[in-house]
């Protein structure tokens, strides 16, 4: 077997040709012990998928558990289960297999895909961030998803809670494309609340996983999933992340793969700004929203500054002016000369108008109403 560094990129010609090899790919994707990197090296050593399975069965590759799995699993049944849920196997070397994945040193040997063909969903940008994000971060991710997808740039993410789901939702809301890369089988709903979102994406975009149907989400699946998210996209956007956030691993992948890295800044006081702010200091491109992103990627141009909100009465206008950062009602009362109940009443009217929101007993402007809000006009 050649040393890993000597392994050529891509897959050997004819590796997955023929039904026997396709079934072998389905089987190889179920091996937990034979890491993609080792499998990739083995592929170049042996030449065909069936040969790789034979090596596993003979104990020359993979773990004991892999050997048992290879002996006990009926590959045809895996493919049947895949088809039964309306999905398909995309093996390496096939036309739908995204060539971008071959940039990886550990490309998946195949993907289970549900939804539209992957080659039809391009160009793509990855949007990732904290699962436990702030309301602001969620709004930023939604705007990025909507703006990008609306301008024809598909959103790739991991369908996790928080930023991931918000960017997918934004893309769907913008009537654009989106791809979710899952850390479990395509028939497993994770996180549990996302059933509806996943169903919508399977229809409007695509769900992708390197794990066979029925695979439960395991902690180590998610970092592995991230490499596919990044590889599928031409750029990576980090929205919110704490110090030592998982998003930083995605950034490592992006740098290895030569993808551009963008970050959306947040308040320096917020712990969830740690990752993006660090990235910006280290050279990532700062973006304020989808308009910046589209311009930098060359998919959009001109900006116009969002008009100040209209239709406000005098009190609403005065109060709105002083909602600066995350403020207490009494601070607003003090700087406007209103009583606290009066200030609260005006703030609630602004909240009903979609201009501010209350978070943890404080009020802040919503994204659309912030002075930094820029509207992208299509190129």
């Amino acid at each position: 077997m050649p040393a890993e560094s000597d392994v050529p990129s891509g897959w050997p010609t004819g590796f997955s040709d023929g039904e026997e090899n396709r079934q072998a790919v389905a089987l190889l994707l179920g091996l937990a012990g034979l890491l993609p990197r080792k499998l990739h090296a083995l592929a170049h050593d042996v030449g065909t998928a069936a040969g790789c399975v034979a090596a596993v069965r003979a104990g020359r590759a993979g773990s004991q558990a892999d050997r048992r799995y290879a002996a006990d699993t009926d590959a045809a049944a895996v493919l049947d289960a895949t088809h039964a849920m309306g999905a398909r196997l995309v093996a390496c070397g096939e036309q739908e297999y995204p060539p971008d994945l071959e940039d990886l040193a550990d490309p998946p040997v195949g993907l289970f895909v549900k939804g539209r063909p992957l080659w039809a969903i391009t160009p793509r940008v990855a949007i990732v961030g904290a699962r436990r994000c702030t309301a602001l971060g969620k709004e930023v991710a939604t705007e990025l998803g909507r703006g990008s997808a609306g301008a024809g740039v598909a959103v790739v993410s991991g369908a996790a809670a928080g930023i991931d789901s918000a960017s997918h939702r934004g893309a769907l809301a913008g009537r654009g494309d989106t791809i979710a890369v899952l850390g479990c089988g395509l028939d497993v709903v994770y996180p549990p609340g996302n059933a509806e979102l996943l169903a919508k994406m399977a229809e409007a975009g695509a769900l992708v996983s390197e794990y066979p149907p029925g695979t439960r989400p395991m902690p180590f699946h998610f970092p592995a999933r991230n490499r596919i998210v990044v590889a599928l996209a031409e750029a990576l956007v980090v929205v919110e992340g704490a110090e030592r956030s998982g998003s930083l691993i995605s950034v490592e992948h992006a740098l290895d793969l030569g993808r551009s890295v963008f970050a959306v800044p947040g308040p320096v006081t917020s712990p969830l700004s740690a990752a993006p702010l660090r990235l910006i200091r280290e050279g990532a491109t700062m973006i304020r929203g989808s308009a910046d992103l589209l311009e930098d990627l060359g998919y959009g141009r001109a900006y116009s500054v969002a008009p100040p909100p209209h239709g406000l009465d005098e009190a609403e206008r005065v109060v709105f002016e002083v909602v600066d950062g995350s403020v207490l009602p009494e601070t607003i009362a003090a700087s406007t000369g209103l009583s606290v109940p009066e200030a609260v009443a005006v703030l609630i009217r602004l909240e009903l108008a979609g201009l501010v929101r209350s978070v943890g007993g404080r009020f802040e402007r919503r994204l659309a109403a912030s002075p930094q809000a820029l509207e992208a006009t299509e190129a």
Binding site: R132, C133, T134, A135, K138, A161, P191, P192, G193, A242, T269, S270, P271, L272, S326, L328, P329, E330, T331, A333, V340, P341, E342, V344, A345, V346, L347, I348, R349, E351, L352, G354, S358, V359, G360, G361, R362
Partner: protein
């Protein structure tokens, strides 16, 4: 004095047993007749009364009297009523003295006797004496003979002579006319004493202070969500100081409950509204009342006419929280036992506090929440249900920065807030006169919708809120009731849009738009 040895002797004394908070007259008879020396109690004595059997003889002998070395039968009637509590020690001891002619019987049908005896014959502080005094007055008795430690509470009842005795010997002296009891001064009603805490001590948290004023004015229950250390307990403790002062009836009701629970410790009458803050490890019986044998009022009843503060709401036992539904709706707790059911009043303002999530930092601007989704899910599940339906005001308490704390002037004093609260309550009292509702919080939802007069601007705002904030039917009713209270605080007849808008700020927003969503 040796006991005459002729055949049978008889005596009769009147005592009171306390069931729940009510006192019931008990006729205590003694028959001293032939047979081996023994004391037999008949007439459904409860465990504590049965206990008295072995305590009485030492107490009598230690007081310098002779115990009849004969068969003594003491009967408690009516026989269908279970007699509970230690207050029957004194009647049982006295009736034996009366039956053996060691004390004269002439005062015994005009006085009610109550009190627990020590082995040395001292009368010691006894729970429920206020209820005894009320029962005695109702029964047309001339006076009560009670332990001196409980004299103050007994003296609250007008037209009742209180004989405060420190021992069985003094009681005997009074009955013989050889000892004059000290004069017990009737205390004035609920004279307002300076409370230990005051609203002026709170810096910052202006919205929360205002919300508590609204809660006090309309009798609304409050839920406070906030990170640890944000000041939830401090705020809750001060709510009792801005509720209207106790009326004499209210004070009497509350005092009676505290008396039954043995918590009065010598005071005559509660002078300020009770504030109860039980720990979350409390049992169901501890919260709602009950226990085996002697039924003790629970925390919900000790908070009667005051504030019940449940800190760390989600840590309380689920069955205990479920049990709060009845007191919150009916203002009373009914405990049913094999021998019938008893009732404790429990009309309180609930203040519940909870962290926004198990770790406490969801929605915090400075810290990151570290809770898993499943834990948060489970946590917010605990906050839902019938309990929260009864909570009209839901607040998020922000953690203040040092700058925000220092920038604030000290707040208004409790006394001046209370003036506005009282005025608002008075408006409600007049409006709801004759329909049995005391305040806005107790209005049934459909009724509140019908009688609340809203400006057209307020109506359209409400329609918009239903849409934008996804208000549920209950959330809708809560907004109406709270806006009515704000109008009452402002002295307005009509609910204006700004009152409604403020009421909507108390609808409870979930940290990060999820988790603790409206439970209604």
């Amino acid at each position: 004095m040796p006991i005459a040895s002729f055949a049978a002797m008889y005596g009769r004394v009147i005592g009171v047993t306390v069931l729940g908070v009510g006192g019931h007259a008990v006729t205590v008879e003694a028959h001293v007749g032939r047979g081996l020396p023994s004391l037999i109690l008949t007439g459904l004595p409860g465990a504590a009364v049965q206990d008295a059997r072995d305590r009485i003889r030492p107490a009598v002998e230690a007081s310098g009297f002779e115990w009849p070395l004969r068969r003594v039968v003491v009967n408690l009637s009516p026989g269908t009523l279970r007699k509970e509590g230690p207050g029957l020690d004194l009647p049982v001891a006295t009736v034996v003295l009366a039956a053996t002619a060691q004390v004269p019987s002439k005062l015994l049908d005009r006085y009610v006797l109550a009190g627990e005896l020590s082995l040395k014959g001292e009368l010691i502080s006894t729970p429920g004496i206020l209820s005894v005094a009320i029962a005695a007055a109702r029964g047309g008795m001339e006076g009560v003979i009670v332990p001196s430690a409980n004299a103050a509470e007994a003296s609250q009842i007008e037209g009742l002579r209180v004989v405060a005795a420190a021992s069985l010997a003094e009681v005997a002296g009074f009955l013989r006319g050889t000892w004059e009891p000290p004069v017990v001064e009737a205390e004035d009603g609920p004279a307002e004493e300076g409370s230990a805490v005051d609203f002026s001590e709170i810096r910052g948290q202006a919205q929360a202070r205002r919300a508590l004023e609204v809660a006090a004015a309309g009798g609304h229950n409050v839920l406070m969500i906030g990170s640890p250390g944000a000041g939830k307990t401090m705020l809750a403790r001060r709510l009792a100081t801005i509720l209207p002062p106790l009326s004499r009836e209210e004070a009497l009701e509350a005092t009676q409950l505290h008396s039954v629970a043995g918590l009065l410790s010598g005071r005559g009458m509660l002078t300020s509204r009770p504030f109860r803050s039980p720990h979350h490890s409390l049992s169901v019986a501890g919260l709602l009342g009950g226990g085996s044998g002697f039924l003790r009022p629970g925390e919900v009843s000790l908070a009667h006419r005051g504030v019940l503060f449940l800190d760390e709401l989600t840590e309380f036992r689920r069955d205990a929280l479920e049990g709060l539904r009845q007191p919150l709706e009916d203002g009373r707790v009914v405990i049913t036992r094999a021998l019938g059911s008893i009732e404790f009043p429990s009309r309180f303002t609930l203040v519940a506090a909870a962290n926004p999530c198990p770790c406490g930092f969801a929605g915090d601007s400075k810290r990151v929440c570290r809770c898993g989704d499943a834990r948060r899910e489970q946590y917010s599940g605990k906050m839902s249900g019938p309990l929260l339906d009864r909570v009209d005001i839901r607040l998020t308490i922000p953690r203040l920065t040092k700058h925000e704390l220092l920038g604030e002037d000290p707040g208004e004093s409790s006394a001046s807030i209370r003036e506005r609260v009282c005025a608002a309550r008075e408006r409600q009292r007049r409006r709801y006169e004759g329909i049995g509702v005391a305040c806005n919080a107790h209005l049934p939802g459909p009724f509140a919708r019908r009688i609340t007069v809203m400006s057209s601007e307020a109506q359209s705002l409400l329609a918009q809120a239903v849409e934008t904030f996804a208000l549920t039917g209950r959330g809708f009713d809560r907004a109406i009731k709270v806006s009515q209270t704000i109008a009452d605080l402002c002295g307005a007849q009509v609910v204006e849009a700004e009152y409604l808008a403020e009421a909507l700020s108390y609808r409870g927003t979930a940290p990060q738009d999820e988790g603790l969503a409206d439970a209604g």
